[in-house]
């Protein structure tokens, strides 16, 4: 692994000022967390050509073929309580939708809380990993994976039904580099908005892009499974689900499936 700092093209804002482009890595989130441990600056971005062990939550695999998609992790050192850290995922999701809609014209939406969707197919995902000591956040790593130029053959049979790419949706190749530049600009903007002015405008934007709110959903959290109507998200980003009993239940964990 030979990190090469890349200052051109993407300069201007704090986020992405330090850009480390790598070949094949296990996972950009793992590399970024190691760099953060060693004191990497706020806003440092790690980008890889391919990932050997691209991952989602709890060790789930993120398919990461070489040279066609975006695998990127952003190191942040925000002044936030650990409890407010999920708002970083919300900010990254809103930033991704803005960048993708502007650059590709696709109608990208957010499935609560961290999936980027086109219709019922997953175009990208965000995996935020933070490290806390006591009640302070040491650093956060925002991992962003976006399927840009993946062909159908790049997805293993098991996920072909669920996954998509910008290429598959628009029948057109897009430059990862231009998309990354736009992603970093948007992430910088929404991060600053959150830190300087709070979550209000961010949550409003999130609601506008949400494909989950207003739908019937099934929530599987631990041993508990229930269904209801996803009505809104609250100030902390929790999904508010109206149960058949009429009660409104805040959901902060588990897998949410949109029912047909």
């Amino acid at each position: 692994m030979r990190p090469s700092a890349d200052h051109h093209a993407l300069a201007g804002r704090e986020i992405g000022k330090e850009l480390i482009s790598l070949g094949t890595v296990d996972s950009t989130n793992t590399v970024a967390a190691e760099l953060a441990e060693r004191g990497a600056a706020h806003g440092t971005v790690v980008i890889a050509e391919a990932q050997r062990k691209g991952r989602g939550r709890l060790g789930r695999t993120w398919v990461s073929p070489a040279g066609v998609n975006i695998y990127m992790s952003i190191i942040l050192r925000p002044c936030l309580r650990p409890a407010a850290a999920p708002l970083l995922t919300i900010a990254a999701a809103v930033a991704c939708v803005h960048a993708l809609r502007t650059s590709t014209g696709l109608h990208v939406e957010i499935k609560w809380p961290n999936d980027l969707m086109v219709g019922r197919s997953k175009l990208g995902g965000i995996l935020t990993e933070v490290k806390s000591k006591g009640n302070s956040l040491l650093f956060a790593v925002i991992g962003i994976g976006i399927n840009v130029n993946s062909g159908l053959e790049d997805f293993p049979p098991g996920i072909r039904e669920e996954a998509t790419s910008v290429l598959l949706e628009s029948a057109k190749r897009h430059s990862c580099k231009i998309l990354i530049s736009s992603l970093l600009k948007e992430t910088g903007f929404w991060y600053e908005e959150l830190i300087k002015r709070g979550s209000e405008a961010l949550l409003e934007e999130w609601r506008r892009f949400s494909s989950t709110t207003g739908s019937c959903v099934r929530v599987a959290a631990g041993n508990e499974v229930f269904e209801g109507i996803a009505e809104d998200i609250d100030g902390e980003g929790r999904l508010m689900v109206r149960l058949s009993s009429g009660a409104l239940k805040p959901v902060s964990a588990g897998d949410v499936t949109k029912l047909r």
């Binding site: 939550r57 709890l58 060790g59 309580r81 650990p82 409890a83 850290a85 999920p86 970083l88 995922t89 809380p113 961290n114 965000i126 995996l127 935020t128 990993e129 933070v130 490290k131 806390s132 000591k133 006591g134 009640n135 040491l138 959290a221 631990g222 980003g237 929790r238 902060s252 964990a253 588990g254």
Partner: protein
């Protein structure tokens, strides 16, 4: 009906699933209703848990350090279902070592130890929901 009979009746019910009992004898009506809907087994488990927690907080006040959850979320002892736990009871931990993950809204929050020492007790089961400030581990500081 004597008071001793009542006592005996109540103690007889304690290890059963009966939630309510009505008895009429010689013009005296007795109705016993138990407060809980938990089964006897669950009740015992709960009682044991309470005792353990009380002991834990007493010990904590003396020489142990309690690690609490900084957020509401789901507690995980390992990075993935197939991975070994970060720490087990008896394990030595270094300052800054990751000891568990709390997940909230798909955000994985690695919790690190603030002290060097040993794990005395793991207070929460893997995959269980935890509240803000809920005790997760008891650590014994290295002397």
């Amino acid at each position: 009906m004597e008071i001793d009979d009542l006592k005996e009746l109540i103690s007889l019910l304690q290890d059963t699933d009966i939630a309510e009992l009505q008895l009429e004898k010689d013009g005296t009506k007795v109705k016993i209703r138990r407060q809980t809907l938990l089964s006897p087994l669950e009740m015992r488990r709960k009682a044991a848990l309470t005792v353990e927690k009380t002991q834990a907080s007493e010990e904590d006040a003396q020489r142990f350090v309690t690690v609490t959850s900084p957020i509401v979320g789901t507690f995980y002892r390992a990075s993935s279902p197939d991975a070994p736990p970060y720490v087990d009871v008896g394990a030595r931990v270094k300052k800054g070592q990751v000891i568990c993950i709390i997940e909230a809204m798909k955000l994985m929050n690695e919790i690190e130890s603030e002290i060097e020492g040993a794990v005395v007790r793991v207070l929460v089961e893997n995959g269980q929901p935890v509240e803000y400030g809920e005790p997760l581990f008891i650590l014994e500081p290295a002397s």
